[in-house]
Amino acid sequence: MARRISAPFVATILLVAFCLCGGRPLVAQSQVDSLLDGSSLQDLWVHVNARDWEDLHTHFQDNTYYPADVEWQGTRVRNAAIRVRGVASRNGHKPSFRLDFNRYVTGQTFFGLDALTLDSSWQDPSMITNRLSMALFRRLGIPAPRVAHVRLFAGAGREYVGVYAVTEEVVPSFLRTNFGEDNGYLYEFNHLANDTWGFQDLGPRLGSYVPRFSPKTHDTESVAQLYMPIRDLVERINDAPQSDLESRLSGYLDLDTFILELAIQNFVMQTDGLVGGVGTNNFYLYRFAGKNLSLLIPWDQGNAFGWFDDVPPWWNMDANVLASKIWNEPKYRARYLAALLRVADVVSADDWLLGEAQRDYQQIREAVYADAFAPYPLSQFEQMHASIQQFIRARPDNVRQHVASLGQ
């Protein structure tokens, strides 16, 4: 007679099996959450050969990778690669870095992350504008990289090299975390010098899209496979009648998500985003696996919170073809204004964003004061924080007043 296995016994076996096997990624994930959630200032130690550290500063214009080990909370992840990153912010005094964990070891991650950036906040004396912006995107349900601050130590002697913003990179691990897949097509948008492109139709030549969109997945596929869908999307945006954007873009771009992203960026006065002063900039494009549907993922919002002067939150909408059509069509304009009010409500509810800004300030202040490589005088750090907090206090009502002035 067969012995009956009890339900508690089965549950125990399954729990043990989960902890031994399936639980590991969750443990790693929850561990890295404490690095990226910004709840505390973490210490990160990049072990790198002294000569390489010197080369990284001397040859900061190069994208040369150097081997490094990354240590955090007593765990040392070996065989990572480090290089200098950035465009306008590149410098040899306090460079920003990219850490790639699977360059030398295929499939290696840092607690589930393929890569991280260490941003020196070279153009942001407050060092928090990117983190606050990304937090706002995420608060409103838009997938955006997590950003937190660390005290960075480097070299065998564990030299303190300053406060850095550690940023989750938009790489396959980001896609897995946010979309449950990583086999779609991911592109980084490159802003070309003296180019004010904002999704205008570039004509039939796929070559016009190649320098603007760098593939981050499927990068060995043909130009046709990589860029025809982008060209189709841009053509649809341009060909769609202003009054019928939704149905023409259905299945290609979620209009409400785009409107919300636009509203967030204009709320925080991000002047180098979707409707920046020099065209569209700072985003990744992700096309979901097996679909035509694409999503814009925000990147580097370091220019936000810096310019206010009672500018209406529909500044420069003509810089982007889709933004222009949305603004010029009453039914979509109404949705955009509603999105602005939603952002204002989220920001002001329990002074959430102000609380984040104040916590960031308290968290990094002492470390910034000890940062011998800080690019700005401490007085500027203090002024910027005061300015940002004032911005956050005033902006929700300011936006509401602007919206009300349009009779909405």
């Binding site: 072990h47 050969n49 000569r51 081997p67 070996r78 065989n79 065998a156």
Partner: protein, 409 residues
Amino acid sequence: MRLLPLAVVFGMLLSADAERASAQVRMTFDKHPVIEVGNLLTAHIRFKSQVDFREFPEELELSPAKPLVDLHRTRIGLEGRLTRALEYQIEGELSDAGAPWRDAYVQTRSFRQLQVRAGQFKIPFSLDQLTSGMDLDFNYRSLAGSFLAPGRDVGVMAFGRLINDVFRYQAAVFKHGGDNVRESERTDPQADRTYAGRLVVRPWIRSQSVLRTLSAGAAFTSGRLPAGPNGVRGKTVPGDAFFEHLFVNGNRQRIGGEFQWRPLGPVGLQAEFIQVRDQRFGQGIDNEDLPNAYSRGWYASGVWLLTGERKKDARPFLRGGIGAVEIGARVERLASWSHGVNDGSFSSPRAPWVMPRVDDVWTGGVNWYWNEYVKLQANVIRERRREDGHVIIGKGSLWSETFRVQLGF
């Protein structure tokens, strides 16, 4: 600019007797053009051309497909006598605009026991590397000869033949470590001198026995390595990187052994062994010393001239004969490794433990010498690549086919 001193010496010697010699210029053609300027100068004009047609295995993860046709070598040069005391050679590669000069040197000629050469020439190491590209038995040099030998540099060398040619020696000092190294090392201002020596013995050269043609030799180089990503290069037959790009610092030492024998008239045997040791002081992630990195290569080859004992005895193709036909085979290996224990860091250029990598290559070939100017060579090459003792997936049997048309005089 590095050849400027040589050009100055050359010019001074010529100008000394130029006026007297100007009326005695004579040009002849005996297998190649020769210009004679009295007793002052002879200039043998040389031309070398090799065009390859090749089919390599598709390895998209390494690099894009290689072009079918490769203009492998197009060189023009002068060689001859300069006054009664000196010999010279100048050779340039026409397809290399960046660094066109190959050999450019003068050497004494009067005392064969002790001659001195100065200029740019091959560092005396590796029989295969020192063999002219026009005289190779196979389309490509062995991987060891191609990548582990140092190549050319600017230097001074004493060389000669002793005891009725039983011993041949070369002892030299060079400005840097040769041109057959990574670009980063070639251009590193910290690159320092390299010393080299080679001794070849032909013990039975005066006898009439079957051992008469046997020669064996040993060679070494020793030089300072500039700190940086300057580890030894190692590539596959198609030319893709095979060795890790390691950071090194300290000395680079090469040792080599060679063997050559033509026991029967039409049959020739040749073998060689090379080992390179790179030191890695202070090259760890935390500036710690790393174990030395080693590279090793060897080959053994044999050729058989089907049409007679000597190539030059054959009647030329299209002139009453078929020329000379030769078949050959070569087996070889190129490997890299370090001592130490696998700590999982092997794929980093600062890895303490360098994962052992081995490329085993088998080559079979046919050479058809139409006449003294034209040679056709066809090779079939099989590679098997291994990491840490295991055949790399998909790299167990990689086939390449190459065909070369060679023209030279």
